[in-house]
Amino acid sequence: MCLGIPGEVVEVGAGRPDLAKVDVSGVRRVVNIGLIEEEGVRPGDWVLIHVGFALSKLDEEEARLTLSYLEQIGQAYEDELKALSRSEIE
């Protein structure tokens, strides 16, 4: 649960400005962006996600590197992705 994971914003909430659909290693889920709303989140932006909330924005190149690192750490990241894929935030 403490693993922060980078996700790419693919869609910003229709009707709900505090929600966004993100792509994390191919898993697409809705997360809450209310904590970084003021920074103006747009599709294509990268965010650091914790338990369903974007906590900060990330630079794209760094986000991709972090992601490729996470993708090969194994169990801990797999567990996090599995949990994320079951999440139903609305």
């Binding site: 649960m1 403490c2 693993l3 922060g4 997360v31 809450n32 209310g34 904590l35 970084i36 709303e37 003021e38 650091l48 914790h50 338990v51 369903g52 909330f53 906590l55 900060s56 990330l58 630079d59 760094e62 590197l65 972090t66 490729s68 690192y69 090969q72 750490i73 169990q75 801990a76 567990d79 949990a83 994320l84 079951r86 999440s87 139903e88 935030i89 609305e90």
Partner: protein, 375 residues
Amino acid sequence: MRFVDEFRDQEKARALAADIAALCEPRRQYKFMEVCGGHTHTIYKHGLEDYLPEAVTMVHGPGCPVCVIPMGRVDDAISIARQEDVIMTSFGDMMRVPGSRGSFLDSNAAGSDIRMVYSPLDSLKIARDNPAKRVVFMAIGFETTAPSTAMTLLRASDEGLGNFSVFCNHVLVNPAIKAILGSPGMALDGFVGPGHVTTVIGCEPYGWIAKDYRKPLVVSGFEPLDILQSVRMLLLQLREGRCQVENQYTRAVAWEGNPRARAVIDEVMELRPTFEWRGLGSIPRSALRLKEKYAAFDAERLFDVPGVRVADPKACQCGEVLKGAIKPWECKVFGTACTPETPIGTCMVSSEGACAAYYNFGRFDRRKVREASRV
């Protein structure tokens, strides 16, 4: 399998290792505490101690949210979950944490409905879908997860979701560091500071560690190179006679943190006069509870919570491990009676717990266990 070869940029890691060795003064020993369990995980997963000279020892800190939950809180949660029409939710890591009469999983086997969720917001959906049930989210974690709980509660309040409440167990990182600095015999030279907690609180709140205790702290990212880089920054400070708070993890952490996240916590939560930590005992003003204003969403007020204090099991040395006073393999039950499948203590449950990290990845530590059990 050789974990040390897995991470990017071996060259840089070796160069950093050389730098680190060169920065150590002859005949001086350095002890740095990594506060965060995520860092402990990286250190053992990648065998980072192999990159550090003998003079540098990493000591594991208390920053694993699951590890610091005392038995009494697990028992309290279970007693809420056992009440009629309750669905309790929590993060997956909580499911196997032992209480004095078993874990959440054991409680489910006996008929309660405790579900794991990825996000507190998932609990809201469960509450909407089950209007006849009372849904209680057991909130755990440091300042990283507290804003998520607060946002979720505000949402429930906006929606008028009367069947949702929070059993609040959020803890604060600074009081824990203070308790450790105050414990006798704890000769630390500096801290590898938590990365994601700092995305919320910012770097300023650690200022007292540098000022009052003259210890440097470097906020660090979670990859192997980040940690090596942070150790290098700590040594450089000591070499130059500086004690400062520095930020190695600038790509995710702004110096001032996330003011919006702090405002949300402040709206919903306030300091508890005291809170009991697993192994560390009661620490004043070290945890958060819900404000009176949100009493309607506070499981502690809505349910009859016994609030029992239960002593840690005798065999368990989690307190020592959380303070960095002993290494996991020095606990008498490590790897024998206490394993990730049958944990006695909390540090064996979460992948961020020092004992679990040692158990899963400690290449040379099994040998140490055998050595320790011989004496």
